[in-house]
């Protein structure tokens, strides 16, 4: 059963990702990315990480896809329906395959046998977040604040300045 769900979600994840890098329409690419991200949330459920699956659906499926849709909508121009790729795409394919060729054998050689996924308690995650990881948590909130203020200042039009 776990195998069936894993293979289904893996096919959805890889298929959505291929859609992002192959499809000619930008909006279709964003929808393919949404499929891939939601399938990744399902993979987190296979790994018994329920909280992460919830966070994935909320932040990626909700916030990030909407922001990317805004970026697509606000930057549309004449070549919007049929975008083209770089001329260097064969080089990109070679680089991706070379990366895969390094990573896959290293994972296969150093594979750990006999482990199984187990349930992580939400209580433990919360305790760890506010004890061991308390300082990175505060820094993350500062990073979010600075990034959003910076985004507002960068995107502001020239007439409002001064």
């Amino acid at each position: 059963m776990a195998w069936f769900v894993f293979i289904l979600l893996a096919v959805l994840t890889i298929g959505g990702a291929l859609g992002v890098v192959v499809v000619r329409n930008v909006v279709h690419a964003a929808l393919a990315l949404l499929v891939s991200l939601v399938a990744v949330a399902g993979l987190y459920l296979v790994l018994f990480a329920e909280f992460l699956a919830l966070v994935q659906v909320l932040i990626y499926g909700g916030a990030i896809i909407i922001v990317l849709m805004f970026a697509i909508m606000l930057t549309r121009n004449s070549d919007y329906p049929r975008i083209t790729d770089n001329k260097q795409w064969p080089l990109a394919a070679v680089a991706a395959l070379a990366f895969l060729g390094v990573l896959v054998p290293s994972f296969l050689i150093n594979s750990v046998e006999g482990t199984h996924a187990q349930n992580a308690s939400l209580t433990g995650i919360g305790e760890s977040l506010f004890t061991t990881w308390a300082v990175p948590f505060e820094i993350a909130s500062l990073v979010l604040l600075v990034a959003l203020i910076g985004a507002i200042i960068i995107a502001r039009s020239d007439e409002e300045e001064g």
């Binding site: 195998w3 894993f6 893996a10 994840t13 890889i14 990702a17 291929l18 890098v21 930008v26 990315l33 891939s36 990744v40 993979l43 790994l47 018994f48 990480a49 992460l52 966070v55 994935q56 932040i59 916030a63 990030i64 922001v67 990317l68 970026a71 697509i72 606000l74 930057t75 975008i83 083209t84 770089n86 260097q88 080089l91 990109a92 394919a93 680089a95 991706a96 990366f99 895969l100 990573l103 296969l108 594979s111 750990v112 046998e113 006999g114 482990t115 996924a117 187990q118 992580a120 995650i125 760890s128 977040l129 061991t132 990881w133 990175p136 979010l144 990034a147 959003l148 910076g150 960068i154």
Partner: protein, 106 residues
């Protein structure tokens, strides 16, 4: 149960697709989407390793899942900033194709 190595292979494939997207796409929005794919590949790897932590049936710690939460936070901030920068470039140059933004080309 699904072994750890299959999640690792899946995440490697996802990361490779992201690399291809970053190098082959021309639109800056699609490059940001490919970066999101790569961040997700890393998250799958981290959470799979955290869930499969040891063979004795006990959890060691939750570090992998917490690092994944921080990666998601930074990804949200990154997408917000990327939207602002893309909008600024589009307003100045009326294009978001990265090979036409060659102001600093020597």
């Amino acid at each position: 149960m699904v072994d750890l190595v299959y999640f690792q292979l899946l995440s490697a494939a996802l990361f490779a697709i992201g690399i291809y997207g970053v190098m082959a796409r021309r639109s800056a929005v699609l490059i940001v989407m490919s970066i999101e794919l790569m961040l997700n590949a890393v998250n799958i790897n981290l959470i799979a390793a955290a869930s499969h932590m040891d063979g004795t049936g006990k959890f060691a710690n939750f570090d992998g899942e917490l690092i994944a939460i921080f990666i998601i936070t930074v990804a949200a901030a990154e997408v917000g900033l990327a939207l602002a920068i893309i909008l600024r470039i589009f307003r100045n140059r009326s294009t978001v194709n990265v090979d036409e933004i060659n102001l600093m080309k020597w």
